[in-house]
């Protein structure tokens, strides 16, 4: 069978199922009595096991099988669920995840899972989980034996089955089906052996379920066998019926149908084990190499990042949603091409305005509208729900809370909010940092919480929502909040600010201090966070994405870390302005409004020019001075001012004229000119000239 085409689907689905298992395990922990959840997990694990066995990933199938056994015991109420058991099951899920990741990176999916398998096995046998944890070594040895068992058995003839297949056979026995072993011999002169095999399989699949074949389906398809092959099948038909059906396929020499007894097999396999020949092992390594070769070739064809695509989206609307998977690189190419188109569109608009030709103007206008729609569609294609990032947090929070001996309830909302793919890729780490920070420094230990009259269990909420051209992600906790005095004390002792400066700071400014580099307020440095390298990294990452982060906090009530992110990174709306003869672009996202102010209305405050804007005193920034623009024009009686903001601070940028609003493609200045003051990038205008994009944040102090 050509596996490569299924591999991708397999990986996608495995990830989905693992996610389901993860989610369900977490809810199971909260409602240990709810057996429907166990069934849910069981279903997902079962499918996963089947898939991985079909794809030939034995380790994956084995481990899932062990896990399933434990779950089955839980379902039949032989074992009671508690955190310790779940810890072990979570460990197993971690291993499974690692295997799937390995497979998607082109590996063989093999992994040493002896320890976990051993633990699972002991739970299944009814031991107390605590004992299980302790008697690790024992189980390890025991398990090693088991591993060798399965290994040698895999290579044997058809009479060799893994536990999964055995269970199926046993179950079918109980349900009144019969297990048959069919040996088919093809004619010596048979030309298309694979085709005949296929026909035999088709016949058999009509009357029953094929459990196993020897040689494997792979080898059969590749005609990698002599003239005989055997199949294990579960069916309700009689052996004569099967025989006659199979014989209808031409070019077959002999068909031999015998009943297959599971019990007999077991006895025999024990015997085989002792006498297993070195010969068979060679066979096995051969076939292993083969699967490895196919998987690695698959990996080169499809880059791994592509596979990481939204596993959860399909989960919610399984069948109705018609989707195709597109390589993200292709979308990038599409995006780049479209960017070129946007530049030419701008150029066309300008030409048509200059020519003042009605028909041309109409056509260009139409084209602009259509390309506007096109732009929206392309941008939307790159949008991915933030759920992808959020998915891993419940597990993380659970683990951290246990490590820190705290009780925490994670509350996620707005996981369906969509963000540009590039932002999604970057936002994970900062969020991990913030969550760790909230858990470690924010939420207090249970007894301390009770002392303060709060519920024992702390709440950490993670919320994402759209607002305008931005996406907001908020991490809030109901913990101790930020102690203003403590922050100031630390900042002063670290030399970040002086005593005098400290007095005049607003709460907001004080909280911002904890994101300065080299700052940590935790009295104790723990494993989780507090090494003083966290929050400044978070701040840098978010700012490099064009976003901002603000902190709000009330002592004793909790803190909110709010991240504001742009929807997309490549096309932005700007206001084009002229300063003398130079053009600059100011991102619309930071503009509040524009105004024209009379020269006489400008006031002076401490030698700085300010204006009174709707009751607020706003300082003016003369762009021609800040940007050293050569002065050629006389200043008139009126100032054109663009009011921009950064957080709740404002400034008025003085320009010479407004040109208008435009969508532009953000381009970097290249690797040579980095860190240019107050310039965040460049764009190419309709006339082919470069205009610089102002970073208004740098102009507001």
């Amino acid at each position: 069978m050509e596996m490569s085409q299924y591999l991708e689907v397999f990986i996608e689905e495995s990830k989905e199922h693992l996610q389901t298992v993860n989610d369900s395990l977490l809810s199971l922990e909260k409602n240990p009595e709810d057996l429907t959840i166990v069934s849910e997990i069981f279903r997902a694990a079962h499918t996963l096991k089947g898939m991985s066995a079909t794809m030939g990933y034995q380790d994956l199938a084995n481990l899932t099988h062990k896990m399933e056994n434990v779950l089955d015991a839980v379902r039949n109420q032989q074992i009671e669920v508690d955190s310790n058991i779940l810890d072990i099951v979570f460990d197993a899920v971690d291993d499974l995840e690692a295997m799937v990741t390995d497979i998607s990176a082109g590996g063989s999916g093999e992994r040493n899972v002896e320890v976990v398998v051993g633990k699972l096995k002991r739970i299944e046998q009814g031991e107390k989980p605590a004992d299980v944890q302790q008697s690790n070594d024992d189980s390890l040895n025991q398990d090693r034996m088991m591993e060798t068992e399965t290994e040698s058995s895999q290579s044997e003839t058809i009479t060799d089955l893994d536990e999964f297949e055995l269970t199926v056979l046993q179950e079918s026995d109980e349900r009144g089906f019969t297990n048959y072993q069919i040996v088919v011999e093809l004619r010596e002169d048979c030309l298309l052996k694979a085709a005949r095999v296929y026909m035999v399989f088709e016949v058999l699949e009509q009357i029953g379920e094929v459990i196993k074949s020897k040689p494997s389906v792979d080898q059969l398809e590749e005609e990698n066998f002599e003239n005989t092959f055997s199949i294990l099948i579960v069916s309700q038909e009689s052996s004569e019926e099967i025989q006659s059906r199979v014989e209808k396929v031409s070019e077959i020499n002999k068909v031999d149908v015998t009943e297959f007894s599971v019990n007999q097999f077991k006895e025999q396999s024990q015997y085989n084990e002792q006498t297993s020949s070195p010969d068979s092992e060679v066979n096995q390594t051969d076939s292993e190499n083969e699967t490895e070769a196919t998987t690695s070739s698959v990996a080169t064809m499809t880059p791994p990042q592509e596979k990481a695509e939204e596993p959860s989206k399909t989960k919610q609307q399984p069948s109705q949603n018609k989707t195709i998977r597109v390589n993200i690189e292709r979308l990038d190419v599409l995006m780049n091409l479209f960017e070129e188109l946007v530049i030419d569109r701008g150029r066309l608009e300008q030409i048509s305005n200059d020519l003042n030709h009605t028909e041309l103007q109409e056509t260009v206008e139409r084209m602009s509208r259509i390309s506007g729609d096109l732009q929206n569609i392309i941008l939307n294609m790159r949008m991915v729900p933030v759920e992808q990032v959020f998915n891993r947090f419940p597990r993380m929070v659970r683990q951290l809370a246990r490590d820190l001996n705290k009780k925490v309830n994670l509350d996620i909302s707005g996981a369906e909010t969509e963000l540009d793919r590039t932002v999604i890729d970057e936002i994970g780490d900062p969020l991990v940092h913030l969550i760790r920070n909230s858990l470690d420094h924010g939420i207090e230990s249970p007894d301390k919480r009770v002392q303060h009259g709060k519920p024992e269990e702390g709440t950490l909420s993670l919320e994402a929502y759209h607002s305008g051209n931005h996406v907001f992600i908020e991490v809030s906790d109901d913990g101790g909040g930020i102690n203003r005095d403590k922050v100031l004390e630390k900042a002063i002792s670290n030399g970040v600010i002086t005593q005098e400066q400290a007095k005049g700071l607003s709460n907001q400014q004080v909280f911002d201090l904890i994101m300065e580099s080299g700052f940590s307020t935790a009295d104790k440095v723990s494993d989780v966070s507090g090494r003083g390298v966290g929050l400044d990294v978070v701040k840098n990452t978010i700012e490099s994405l064009g976003g901002t982060i603000t902190i709000d906090s009330k002592l004793g009530e909790g803190s909110v870390f709010s991240i504001q992110l742009p929807l997309t990174l490549s096309i932005i709306s700007v206001m084009l302005v002229e300063v003398q003869h130079e053009k600059f672009a100011i991102p619309l996202s930071s503009i509040i409004e524009t105004a024209i102010v009379k020269k006489d209305d400008i006031m002076h405050a401490h030698n700085k020019k300010v204006i009174d804007f709707r009751g607020r005193v706003v300082p003016l920034v003369f762009l021609k001075d800040v940007l050293d623009v050569p002065v050629e024009l006389e200043q008139g009686d009126y100032y054109s001012i663009v009011l921009v903001r950064k957080g709740d601070k404002m400034a008025g940028l003085v320009v010479d004229s407004f040109i208008g609003q435009q969508e532009v493609v953000l381009k970097s200045l290249g690797n040579y000119l980095t860190n240019v003051f107050a310039i965040s990038g460049a764009t190419i205008l309709g006339d082919g000239q470069v205009a610089l994009i102002l970073d208004s944040n740098a102009l507001i102090k």
């Binding site: 050293d628 290249g670 690797n671 240019v676 003051f677 107050a678 190419i684 082919g688 205009a691």
Partner: protein
């Protein structure tokens, strides 16, 4: 082609203040005519700004300023040589660029050291050809801001 052509170095020759300079042809992307340059504020003096090079925003350096030569107005023969240095793409403004020649490796000598002048790091060597003297540049050094500042302070 001579036998030792493998050791020859192919260079683009350009003029600057009536002297001839050479940059290895492998590092040159293209040679452009003068076009509108958008000034970038608050960078080094020799960075004239950026241009739109077929959709790529490319920084431009004026070599006359960089080498502390007298500035002249740009004219019809002024060229921008686009060079690739490490992972950067930069344009160099020169007076003229109109020749490609092969320099045999034995013709290349280290830069002459003269007492009383400070050593300029951006000269890799001098190639002596019949009647011509070619100054070979070390491009990465040209981009360095530090050396430029040093030079300015010594001379200024």
């Amino acid at each position: 082609m001579s036998e030792n052509s493998l050791q020859d170095e192919k260079v683009i020759v350009f003029q600057l203040n009536e002297e001839e300079y050479g940059v290895p042809v492998q590092q040159v992307g293209s040679i452009e005519r003068m076009q509108h340059i958008t000034r970038v504020p608050q960078t080094s003096e020799f960075v004239k700004g950026v241009i739109n090079l077929r959709g790529v925003v490319t920084p431009i350096i004026d070599l006359r300023t960089r080498f502390n030569l007298e500035e002249v107005n740009y004219n019809e023969s002024t060229r921008i040589i686009i060079v690739y240095i490490e992972d950067m793409e930069v344009g160099l403004i020169v007076d003229e660029a109109n020749d490609v020649i092969d320099i045999p490796s034995e013709a290349i000598e280290p830069a002459p050291e003269v007492v009383g002048t400070i050593e300029v790091e951006y000269i890799r060597g001098v190639a002596k050809l019949e009647k011509r003297l070619l100054i070979l540049l070390d491009l990465p050094k040209i981009l360095s801001f530090e050396e430029y500042k040093e030079l300015k302070t010594v001379e200024g």
